[in-house]
Amino acid sequence: MKSMNLANRILILFFALILAVPVFWVARGKVEPQRSLMEYRVLTVFPPLSFTDFRMSIKRISQRKFEEAGQLFFNQFRQMKFQNIFEKAVNEQFPLRSQGIRLSKNLTRQGIRIAYLFTDDKIIPADNRNNVYEDRENTLLLPEPEFFRNKEQADIDVKIDYYDTIIKLHQNQNFYAFYIEVLEDSAFNPLNQYFINADAGRSFSYFLEHKPQELRVEELLLEKYQDQQKYFYRTDHHWNVHGMLLGYEKIYNMLRENYPDITPMQSHDTIYTFPDIEFHGRWARSVFYKIKPGDVFEVPLLDLPPYKIYDIEGNEIDYNHKDEYLAGNYSRAPFADHYIEYNGKDVDYLEYVFENGTDRNLLIIGDSFTNAIEPLLASHYHHTYAVDIRHYPDYYFSLSEFLAAHDVDDVLVLGGPSVVMHQWRWTINP
């Protein structure tokens, strides 16, 4: 390299940048795997390399023990395991990663806004990779509609058959379903007009028309677009406290039909708003978009009788972080999933035990929607078993086996369209 003029000095920064990153990693040293609240997963760290293993494998090669040498050190490269983890770690341990991601997403968003500048469309994509849209008039994020075609109809038929079999097989139990209509499946999704096969409430109508008579169904339906904002978060797919409490009332009334001596409804008039939480839920997180203002995070202040929660192994656990939240101990990280953190994350199985004088037991088959409502419903039963089939090995859950091992009076399938109508990962094996 012979000379350097003034202009070239600017581009020295390029070389400084590409060199600074590995220097940063070396200077920082080894890091433990860290959970990213933003992405809701553990970030990959650089895989370790053992010099001792390398030395030993070289020794094995000199002894012509090639297979052992491979197992000790070289196979991880040959099978690309090392490279794959390393490449992931380079991305996930990159300095200023989240700022970089946000910069890129913001740039994309500006590009989209420019593209839609000349249209009168108020609902535009919030990102170019996820099917999340931004309603600029109502400052909310919303998902693309789900479809209702022959494929989906056939899927619902299968689920209906399962219900039919289950109800005929287990006549000692009462079967209920509580359907939470989400915007994807609603007739009031403003994007329906662009999607010819949009569900628009048709799948639930079909389900109601063909379901077994013995299955008692109650629902939380959107009756207008504004209901989305009333009962759900504007940045997350879950129901908010108002949707959940309305759901509680409806479910309570439904259960009472076959459970006349059910304890009175829990008082749920007091709602607490966390003053310093601006909640940006899953939709916001998936597009890294802190829509302004974010959602308020409200929770009901309940005075439930004492209860215990057990996991699938029968160990008593402290399942959620409600006490910590109410004591002011919660994450202030952007995009922290307060719904899950407060109510508890999705697990395969939970058992609530209330000492409330009743010997009646409830089985709830549900999803993350149920996490918020479980304690309220469980307060009316002695044992309440909450099952999330998604977390069972191979999504296999046998109702017969479960009922043989547990004394259950009421079975409640509770959740969105996937849980109630589709079989996908929520197949309730009779």
Binding site: M1, K2, S3, M4, N5, L6, A7, N8, I10, L11, L13, F14, F15, L17, I18, L19, V21, P22, F77, R78, M80, Q83, F86, E87, V90, N91, F94, R97, G100, I101, L103, S104, K105, L107, T108, G111, I112, I114, A115, Y116, T119, I124, P125, N128, R129, Y194, F195, I196, N197, F288
Partner: protein, 472 residues
């Protein structure tokens, strides 16, 4: 190791350049270049490292043998070695790339299943075997003499910037630089600019376009409206150009940083005035390879034939160009399609075309090239007809698979930028800036830095997609 990956840009490249610039002796620099290139290759394809090593050593040894035979006994003595070397190179390519295709078609022909365990295609095999053949033939034709220093030969053969996707470089194009690869500061900085420009083209434009294009081509293409169909086709034309020329810019830029001047591969192909002109501007190193090592020898070998000699040679060459791109019928038809057009253009039609107004020539070329991309992009031949019907508006301007369904409108700014960078405007601007220098140069370099940061941010947000030409 993809050139647009974070581990290449932030680990391999800085460490490699640091060592490369620190090492004072050219021999050691060549050794580092060979070693680095092997690490670069084996990072993503460790199982096929022996294939690359064999190819490198084989061509080195046969190159030396051929030159020795030429010097001692002349061409007849060297000829068998040349043929062995060319055939072995071709066999390697056929074995890895075409065996499955050949057996599959044979099975169809004899109506009997043939058991075959497919092997992973070694990365860059189409490129490094063609490099090997060009080296051997240049020696045999006495255009060059064999490189005796294996490190220099290894640097030429396996040089990592061009190893996986070209440009296919002839030995004579870099042999002087191999003696003492030492770039000036200006060359290093020029290389950095070229590298960043290519990275931005790939990450900020091609990959973004790919999101929409893949979605459209992944749908029922026979049920599209003409609007979406044309969007997808033009988008793909831009995507493949920005992707491949982006890679080439990165490769040439890296070459400059290492002190090598790799050949250009693109010269704004979408401003071509005919299909023949397009192929003088598109993947120039491949076209040049086929012209030098196949078309000219064919012309020479068939010089006594008068009837349609050049035309039939063009069809043969482009059929093989298509086959080089992939072991599938769509590539063969794609190549033949261009061969036939070029054969027609080599006659009266070509002369007539030159007399038509310039816009007519551009439209003619554009339409035929676009049609070619249909054959290239859609591997299932049965789908060509329905897609062409969509293009021609048989389903109307829009269908249920609307612009909104694919959200194509959001990619409009990318399309506009893509068109801008497919035309020579930016290049002219860069030349003017270089002439003016001073503050304007500094401002443009700041723009390059911003583009680099944005590209990295985009990789962090979206990961990187494989280069389209990496599959060939």
């Amino acid at each position: 190791m993809p050139l647009s990956s974070l581990h290449f840009i932030f680990i391999f490249l800085p460490l490699f350049l640091l060592l490369y610039y620190v090492i004072p002796k050219s021999g050691w620099r060549n050794a580092l270049l060979v070693f680095g290139s092997l690490v670069f290759f084996s990072w993503s394809d460790p199982g096929n490292l022996p294939v690359l090593l064999f190819s490198l050593l084989f061509n080195y040894i046969f190159g030396r043998v051929i030159t020795r035979q030429l010097e001692a006994k002349g061409r007849p003595a060297a000829r068998p070695y040349m043929w062995i070397a060319v055939i072995v190179n071709l066999l390697m390519l056929v074995f890895y790339k075409y065996t499955g295709f050949l057996l599959e078609n044979l099975a169809d022909l004899i109506n009997q299943p043939i058991k075959f365990t497919s092997r992973a295609l070694p990365l860059g095999v189409s490129f490094f075997t063609f490099t090997g053949i060009s080296y051997i033939l240049d020696l045999y034709n006495s255009t060059e003499k064999a490189e005796e220093n294996i490190l220099r030969f290894g640097s030429y053969f396996a040089m990592f910037p061009k190893l996986l996707q070209g440009p296919i470089t002839r030995f004579g194009q870099v042999k002087k630089e191999l003696i003492n690869p030492r770039p000036t500061m200006d060359e290093v900085m020029d290389g950095a600019r070229r590298f960043i420009g290519g990275l931005a083209k790939k990450i900020l434009l091609a990959d973004q376009l790919g999101l929409a294009i893949d979605k459209v081509f992944g749908s029922k293409v026979g049920e599209l409206g003409a609007g979406v169909a044309w969007f997808a086709l033009i988008g793909y034309a831009l995507q493949i150009y920005l992707d491949f020329s982006g890679y080439t810019d990165m490769a040439i830029g890296l070459g400059r940083m290492l002190g090598f001047k790799l050949p250009e591969n693109f010269n704004f192909p979408y401003i071509s005035r005919s299909v023949s002109d397009f192929w003088r501007r598109w993947h120039m190193s491949l076209t040049s390879w086929f012209r030098t090592y196949l078309f000219i020898p064919l012309e020479f070998a068939r010089k006594k034939e008068k009837f349609l000699r050049q035309q039939s040679n063009l069809v043969i060459v482009f059929l093989l160009t298509g086959l080089w791109h992939g072991a599938d019928w769509n590539f063969i038809i794609w190549g033949t399609y261009f061969g036939v057009i070029m054969a027609v253009e080599s006659g009266k039609w070509g002369k007539l075309l030159k007399k038509t107004p310039l816009p007519v020539q551009h439209v003619y070329s554009f339409v035929l090239v676009m049609l070619g991309w249909v054959f290239f992009r859609i591997t299932d031949i049965k789908v060509w007809g329905p897609f062409l019907k969509s293009l021609l508006g048989f389903n109307g301007w829009t269908t249920e698979f609307s612009m909104r369904y694919f959200n194509v409108l959001q990619f409009l700014p990318i399309i506009v930028l893509g068109v801008f960078f497919s035309l020579p405007f930016a290049n002219r601007l860069e030349h003017k800036v270089n002439e003016k220098g001073g503050a304007v140069r500094i401002i443009l370099d700041l723009v390059y830095l911003v583009l680099f940061v944005l590209s990295i941010a985009s990789i962090l947000a979206n990961g990187y997609s494989a280069f389209i030409y990496a599959q060939f």
